[in-house]
Amino acid sequence: MTDLTKLSLKSALDGLNKGDFTSLEITDAFLARIDALNPKLNAYTLVTHEKAREDAKASDARRAAGNAGALEGAPLGIKDLFATKGYRTAACSKILGEFKPEYESTVTSNLWRDGAVMLGKLNMDEFAMGSSNETSAYGPVVNPWQIEKKLTPGGSSGGSASAVSANLCLAATATDTGGSIRQPASFTGTVGIKPTYGRCSRWGIVAFASSLDQAGPIAKDVTDTAIMLKSMCGHDGKDSTSLNVPVPDFAAAVSRGVKGLKIGVPKEYRLDGMPEEIEKLWQDGINWLKEAGAEIVDISLPHTKYALPTYYIVAPAEASSNLARYDGMRFGNRVDGNDLIDTYEKTRAAGFGAEVQRRILIGTYVLSAGYYDAYYLKAQKVRARILEDFTKAWEKCDAILTPTAPSAAFPIGQKQTDPIQMYLNDVFTVTTNLAGLPGISVPAGVDVNGLPLGLQVIGKALDEETLFAVAGVVEKSANFTAKPNL
């Protein structure tokens, strides 16, 4: 039999539908591969062998009874930020300890509703704060590309990207607050989409920065992300920002083509000192879309350079508020002190890692009396300017093409000393979080060392279909077939 773990989600679903193999067979194939490779990659923080096999058997029974769902029998990995009932959900933080939720997140509920199988929980930066998966309390994740070099898979969804890239699951859930789906996808030669804010319910996803957080999939190709996204999305009364809009057939849009579409190229994304290959790759992308019948238009997003500083006010402010709940009283770890306040302070100092503490302090400062207007209010106004940039751009184009990240994957440990250097990873992705827009990263080429690089397509709010159409052309033209050698 062929190696089932190499299949795309789409071809695995086709194989299951045709009866070429069962869910239990493909699930066992993934579990065996995880057991063999996870000690090297550290992509999973929890492998749910028994649950996976039970899910798979139940799925095979449903299929036999003629009740197959859209993801019936497909083994998936779940980022540790999603609450999974009865299975440890720690957001890769020490402070949550062995927290086992008594509830299931809406997004994962939707996946199980459609018949998917859970393989386990995936590593990530602590509370999704990081761009290299190095802030995880469970240790860094290794990028499967050139594994001997010990490169980061990016972050925060580093476990999701590494697992998909190394064939340790068919596809994975991820989340994106400033680039946490798209940058890891770019670093690992996978596809990742952050949909429009409000497409996916945030209920049951551990909150980082609520006005920026959005769930989405990382998968092996564009069609696979479209299939995953359709299952993950949908209105949810339990999240007041969840949008009550129809969920289109995203996969149908992938082969739509770009004839007649106007693709914007923003001059502000051309950074000084950007590697030549990235510049070239961007030009390749422009040429591919032109050849496929799109019209390329120069656009300007003048407030781009202010997006990251704006983000590093808004996100820590929201995080400092969201993370106030970790006080050691109702769940998670507690460190006893002399009195109540001392207990809070010791619990939080011991439970949160350095980057999380740094962001809580920044967030508390920018929200504190006397500084609120200068920082937080100002950032909210600049954020409005950034959204306005895009609104003006949409008068000239239907979608925007940019690089996903300013570099390829870098070695673990390289950027740990300077927080701002790490933050710059998200320079091309963070604008869409601030504006609530959808963005997708598609692998399009390799750098001088043979490491994958992604191109990003940004779309109008709720127009993921155009995004998938453009991404489909980029994928087809790039014909990126390289795989990590494991």
């Binding site: 500083p309 009283m329 409005a384």
Partner: protein
């Protein structure tokens, strides 16, 4: 604007984060590095701009004011560091 050691101690207290004395100067440097970088926003003219408070323009939905969940005492206490007789056990909060 920049923060002093006194400011960092105050912010840490507001954040309910115990901070070791030797870490204070380190945090002062790190926070000032980030705050100096953020100062870039002063270049942006925001005269007459309304602060963005909602990502997607929509009115918050109302639901019927009815009980939709409840009787979850055991589930609520399941992950408590300390619980007894159906209650959370916490350090003394009132003298």
């Amino acid at each position: 604007m920049s923060v002093s050691e006194k400011d960092v101690r105050k912010i840490a207290r507001l954040s309910r984060l115990a901070i070791q004395d030797e870490k204070v100067p380190v945090m002062v440097d790190e926070l000032n590095g980030i705050l100096n970088w953020i100062e870039m926003l002063n270049e942006v003219n925001v005269d007459g701009v309304e602060p963005m408070t909602s990502v997607v323009a929509q009115v918050l939905p109302m639901r019927d004011d009815v009980v939709s969940d409840g009787n979850q005492q055991a589930a609520v206490l399941k992950n408590a560091p300390k619980a007894d007789s159906g209650f959370f056990v916490v350090p003394k909060a009132v003298e």
